[in-house]
Subunit: 102 residues, 10 copies
């Protein structure tokens, strides 16, 4: 099932630059891993902000929380989650989880 | 290019039922037409609300405005648009418009 | 899985009294039906407001949307949905759906 | 009587990791203690956020304040309390405090 | 126990003047009745607005909801309720309900 | 005349514990002094928050500002003031300042 | 004493034009009367809105409420009141009400 | 001098279609007149909304108010005005009103 | 021309006390200077807050920005500016700048 | 195509003064560079705030994000972007990008 998330990152100004770079690199790796296994279905940058809009395809809110709360940048994020349903006028199965494992 | 839109519909309570049904049917047809030609790329229902979250793939803000403002339910909608950019950690070309016809 | 919903009802002032009474009675019957089959797990009145706080136990956001959008008072409601996950400090299986039929 | 609370935790970024871990462990123990004695009736995680939604069953707002304000993480929480009443369409005594000790 | 309420009245502009006057007179009578029996402990006008700030002394959120939702002007009110506890620096028993008649 | 105030305290996380305790004790003494001389007429704790709701009985906004801005915790408070008038349905002289000294 | 008020007028779209004109003329006369007797000390238009920012010089919040709530356009106004005190850096007695007639 | 304005139009749903068309045509003519004489310097559509973002070049807030409040659609607009100053990093005289005709 | 400003000061908790006192004294001197030359026409304290409401009489938004942004406490202020126009019901020339030097 | 951006700068109070000056000088240089090549089409100061309102002329949301996110002060900015379309009543090609390179 699909969940929409808007994530805004606020890195503290006094965070060590190396630590910040490490966090961002870990975040990037984790994000790509979750995209490859199909659970982070869409990942867009909000133009002009340090923020993203994402769609996750998971089995439950529990799995969603596990994925998001284990992201390396989670302690610095404001996250707002919206559950998505199939739209009656949608022509594709975009809101349906039919990949193996989801 | 991609634009994210959240659209909330408020039908007036005293709208004639037939008129409302006609509007909704016209909206459905137009939404499917725009999905088929690739410009209304994603269309999800916000669970529990008379609202949708959409992603449009258009050539410009002008084209986006034309599409949205000509929707049959537009006079009854609150719309909030967010321009999307490619995310540096995205693994697909999800944010790129390279399909024929878009 | 569990979804939290806050629902605020705004009946139009010029709604016919009989129609309003019929809607409320239908809403009551539907709410009790959904409670009995285990999908409307909790239903509380917000003290001092024409509003409720509810917890639904459904199989998906799709099912949640179907339940809420078919409520007789849905056209007059503002609804805000929050997906719930199991809390690591919870001692019961309160957030788990294991009753028959849910 | 029942009170609904939404609690959002903001740990300061420069909090010592050991101190944070100790606080969280103390919070977990206190939360479970209060669940076992029936006063913290429901405890859910808000999916995707460091936040919970809870329902407390206490004798008064005074008792509620004592419970919440003595939580180890209270200094780092934003809390919003909503008093709950029995809903006229509720079929269970969910909003009634009939366990011993509450 | 004490509950703080802020109530804002919005009379519809097309409400019949006589009906409005009757509602206000009924509201006045009910408010005075509840003040005399000690349950509507404080009633102040917010200067410059058609709104009041009140403190109720009731046995439960259920009783509070019954009192407020049966006010003649309730269908036209936005109400926000805040539960009150005894303040540790308070010198009187202002937050305690043990006076005769309350 | 009466003024309603909602005061929310945010102590900085890195404030020295002794300094914080001293401030709170000074605040308590000052609050009790002002209650005894009749100017801090009501003082309630907002259940679940480090906040209070108060009613002051003073001669002018100037006096109100002097009282509030000299509170030991003032630098850490967000304060919102609402002037109160006598409500036409009030049965007591609750909104009238007739005690000596006010 | 001085009170700052921001008043936004929302005339209903279906109000009879003559009635609207009469209300506005009555409002104008009353506003000028109150300016002449010194109680409506300042009256400015918010540029670009059907709104004003005003400063009243009255004896109490009771008098303020009486003045505002008896304005002909009061049923169509959203009003927000802020009590003003003398600023320690002010060089004039602008915040003091001791001029004859005010 | 320059003022930025965001104007959102809400036409009432029961406005007669002919009346609406006449208003829009009058609005269009007035907007073009003001653009031609240099006082409505920029006029953009907010993509996806019945709203515009504008920059006016006028001699005073009085003139600004006169222009906006006399627009045919003004009774149906929410307007938010922001005064603009020259930016120290601006390379053009974009914020200066000294061109002939503006 | 007149501009209304609401300024809220947030001094950082770890600001050196002497530095804070110096800033406040400089702010006081500058505020009085600007009042004496007629450009800071009104300066009121918001009762109960570390904030002021002011009216400036300047030649342009540029001059307004220069005055405000050079205030010693500017780096610690949230400022909200509203341009003022003459109100059609105003009886004085309060909104007109005709003093020498303004 | 055009994008409107409102950017508010919050420099941390403990930022080294030299570092702050360097950042501002780099920001100024970059802003002028982008104005000269036609991509930062308008840059205005919001009067009374450390903020600007800008209009960018870029080829895509991707280019917009690149420009904004590489500004030296970006880590200290809150940015809100609004895509602009041509207004049907606009008389100039203000919303059209016809300079070489855009």
């Amino acid at each position: 099932m699909l969940f929409h998330a808007r994530m805004r990152v606020h890195l503290p100004h006094d965070l060590d630059q190396d630590a910040a770079d490490r966090l961002k690199e870990q975040e990037r790796q984790r994000a790509q891993e979750l995209q490859r296994d199909g659970r982070w279905r869409h990942l867009w940058r909000v133009a002009g902000e340090y923020a993203n809009i994402s769609v996750f395809d998971v089995d439950s809110p529990d799995e969603l929380h596990r994925l998001i709360s284990q992201l390396p940048l989670f302690p610095y994020m404001d996250v707002e989650v919206t559950p998505l349903a199939r739209h009656p006028s949608a022509i594709s199965d975009d809101a349906v989880s039919d990949e193996p494992g989801s």
